[in-house]
């Protein structure tokens, strides 16, 4: 792997970890419950992108499956939380 690609992937990983931390700060600060759900949504998206970058740097396609699973479960989770905020029940 060339040096340029290796350093670009390190840069991308640093950017995505910073994005995770910023989403975590918003998750902790709130102020409303919907802000926390939006922050969680951004958090799992950044984690999924980080998995994709890891797959790029290890040249493996296994990480892509993990990223797909994160996308799937994150969608279910944040939709359930949004539904809960709307009605106070997840399944009616």
């Amino acid at each position: 792997m060339s040096t340029v690609l290796a350093w670009s992937l390190v840069f991308a990983q640093v950017c995505l970890v910073l994005a995770l931390l910023l989403a975590l700060v918003r998750l902790a600060r709130g102020p409303a419950a919907q802000d926390r759900v939006a922050a969680f949504d951004s958090f799992y998206t950044s984690a999924m992108l980080l998995m994709l970058v890891l797959g790029l740097s290890y040249r493996s396609s296994t990480y892509f499956e993990g990223a797909l699973l994160i996308a799937l479960f994150g969608f279910v989770g944040s939709t359930a939380m949004a539904k809960f905020l709307l009605r106070g029940e997840v399944i009616e």
């Binding site: 950017c15 910023l22 951004s42 396609s61 799937l72």
Partner: protein, 119 residues
């Protein structure tokens, strides 16, 4: 495993850096924008641009590593382009309902007053 041409590595690097920067800018917007309805716009930068660019980079690298077309990674942005709007609409409807309940200033009133679930 075969060697990947230099131009493919350069394009992969550019796509990965642009995608990660998009996600970072979205997260900065999530932290810094003033109201909730402003903040909902920013993270979509990561879930659209970031996901597409990184999946394209993965597909490109794996295609050249395996010497055959390998586009499974594009499933992720296609899946997100279906699920992202659903989550956003659910969440913004919930936030609109809760903001009207809490009498947050600046939130427009309901177009159908008296309807079930409207305040």
């Amino acid at each position: 495993m075969s060697a990947v041409p230099a131009w493919v590595e350069a394009v992969t690097a550019a796509l990965a850096v642009m995608g990660a920067l998009g996600a970072l800018i979205g997260a900065i917007g999530l932290l810094r924008l003033p109201t909730f309805f402003d903040r909902m716009h920013a993270p979509t930068l990561g879930s659209t641009g970031g996901a597409w660019l990184l999946a394209l980079a993965t597909a490109l690298q794996q295609s050249f590593l395996r010497e055959q077309l390998f586009v499974h990674a594009l499933l992720i942005p296609i899946f997100i382009s279906m699920t992202g709007p659903i989550t956003t609409i659910f969440l913004v409807r919930a936030a609109l309902f809760r903001s009207r309940r809490a009498r947050v200033p600046g939130v427009p009133p309901s177009l159908t007053p008296g309807a079930p679930g409207e305040v």
